[in-house]
Amino acid sequence: MVVGAAGIGLAYQLKARSIRSDLDRDLDNGTPPLDSRDPRFDEGRSAALVSSIAYGIAGAAGAVGGFLTVRALIGRRSARRSVAVRAAGAGAALEVRW
């Protein structure tokens, strides 16, 4: 999910960059002169918004994923620490803490 959302964010960001470059070129040398109601302004804003949202989702998913991974790793270490072998018996007891 993180990779998918980041990919979407990147794709829309590249689109926004391309529109921005087009607009900069037209602002500098444009024939015809650029109009403030040119639809590319809205397209650029939309692409930037979608990109931000996708990056946000990727970031949030990454953070949640990272948190769960870290918690799982901590859990495994705790589990390892709690393995106890008692000499008095013929078996082993395993205690896992969540």
């Binding site: 990147l10 960001q13 590249l14 926004a16 960059r17 529109i19 921005r20 607009l23 900069d24 037209d26 602002l27 500098d28 040398n29 444009g30 024939t31 015809p32 002169p33 650029l34 109009d35 403030s36 109601r37 040119d38 639809p39 302004f41 650029g44 804003r45 692409a47 930037a48 918004l49 990109s51 931000s52 990056y55």
Partner: protein, 419 residues
């Protein structure tokens, strides 16, 4: 490391604000109809009014039903629009003229011919106030023909430092001048100071004003309905005629070819900044725009500007203005049936600069997303954009179907006057 840098660059660019910043820097600002009007067709005519406050004001007419709107730009280029439906209505494409009304403390005023023999005056209030009807002047007030208002313009005709505009109007073959028009007095039933004379070539269809003779007062050019002559008179001649013939014109201009004719409109400007004005007018077939050069010199030369090959309406609108701020005027020629980028009838406006004895195209303007039948350039005017104090810059205002474009710059080298 390189990947990290690339990702960082990506992450730091292209928020929505990047596009807001660029939209604010765009060279033109287009505007459709404002809220508050019911007109099915917007921008059928436009004019500009001078004002003493910084910024600029454009007045736009709509039809079906008739409406008037004001587009007010502040000195930063922020636009406020307001429109009102007009009781009684105008012709579909009303004749309009705008000016500064010095009596009302520096606000603009617009005159509109109602097509029924009267000229209506509206205050062109700025911001969100919009236009407001003020007073009307019927043809009878000046003893003029009922077609009073076939063409209208405001002119400063007094020889020295005139600040009170006269209204100049056509009514059939009559040239009518309402001297130092004071709308407050008309509102108090004090009759306007009218003068009129009969034009030697019969009915006329277009007017233009500019200082042609030696004094500073603007003189009046009238284009005969036959298209065969442009005659220029002083306002003093009109007053002296006392309703009789206008007398011998200061200057008479005829088409370069005997079988050719002129088509309205026409405009007076000065493309050399030599105090010898030029008159621009299209041929009747709109295949060429003629520039009569140094009109005050007695025997003006003619510079023809040929229409582009695919053009059918070259010169439908014409205006002179100093659009690049170099204190020398350029000529803007509208061609509403042109097909820029292959889009039929999208229309375009070409700006010409006088250089080396000829007029060279400096820029071509059309909608950055041209639309079929947009008819960009069907009307043109020049708005004086006040920068504060006595500093002004000319902005080009272009009418199209349903929208109005205001150009703050016309080329990359032009300075943007918005602060």
């Amino acid at each position: 490391m390189r990947w990290c840098t690339a990702l960082l660059l990506l992450a730091t660019c292209c928020g929505q604000s990047a596009f807001d910043d660029r939209a604010a820097r765009a060279w033109s600002r287009s505007a459709g109809a404002p809220d508050g009007i019911s007109s099915a067709t917007y921008a059928v005519s436009l004019t500009t009014v001078d004002r003493e406050q910084p910024g600029a004001t454009v007045v736009v007419a709509g039809s079906g039903p008739s409406s008037l709107s004001t587009l007010s730009y502040d000195v930063g280029g922020e636009l406020e629009m307001h429109g009102v439906d007009v009781d009684g209505g105008f012709p579909d494409a009303p004749v309009m003229a705008g000016s500064l009304d010095p009596v009302t403390g520096g606000n603009g005023v617009v005159a509109v011919a109602d097509g029924a023999g009267a000229v209506l005056f509206f205050d062109a209030r700025t911001g969100d106030l919009g236009p407001a009807f003020r007073v009307s002047v019927p043809a009878e007030a000046c003893g003029a023909a009922p077609t009073f208002g076939t063409a209208l313009l405001f002119a400063l005709t007094d020889p020295d430092e005139d600040v009170e505009p006269d209204l100049v109007a056509l009514a059939d073959d009559q040239l009518v001048v309402l001297r130092d028009l004071d709308l407050d007095k008309i509102d108090q039933d004090i009759p306007p100071d009218c003068a009129r004379c009969s034009l030697p070539d019969g009915a006329a269809v277009a007017l233009a004003a500019g200082a042609v003779d030696d004094d500073d007062g603007e003189d009046i050019a009238a284009l005969a309905a036959t298209g065969k002559r442009i005659s220029i008179f002083t306002a003093e001649q009109v007053r002296a005629a006392a309703g009789a013939g206008c007398g011998e014109p200061l200057v008479v201009l005829t088409p370069p070819a005997a079988d050719d004719s002129f088509a309205p409109p026409m405009s007076i400007g000065d493309i050399e900044d030599n105090d010898a004005p030029e008159i621009a007018v299209a041929s009747i077939d709109h295949r060429v725009v003629y520039i009569f050069h140094d009109v005050s010199g007695g025997a003006p030369g003619v510079i023809p500007i040929p229409a582009p090959a695919d053009s059918a309406a070259f010169g439908t609108s014409i205006a002179f203005g100093d659009f690049d701020g170099d204190e020398i005027e350029e000529l803007a020629v509208g061609d509403p049936l042109a097909s820029p980028e292959g889009v039929a009838g999208a229309g375009q406006v070409t700006l010409y600069r006088f250089e080396g004895g000829e007029l060279k195209p400096e820029a071509t303007l059309y909608d950055s997303e041209p639309e079929e039948g947009q008819h960009f350039g069907r009307s043109l005017d020049v708005a004086e954009f006040g920068l504060g104090g006595a500093e002004y810059r000319d902005l080009l205002v272009v009418g199209a179907s349903g929208e109005v474009f205001t150009y703050f710059r016309v080329t990359a080298a032009t300075e943007d006057p918005r602060s």
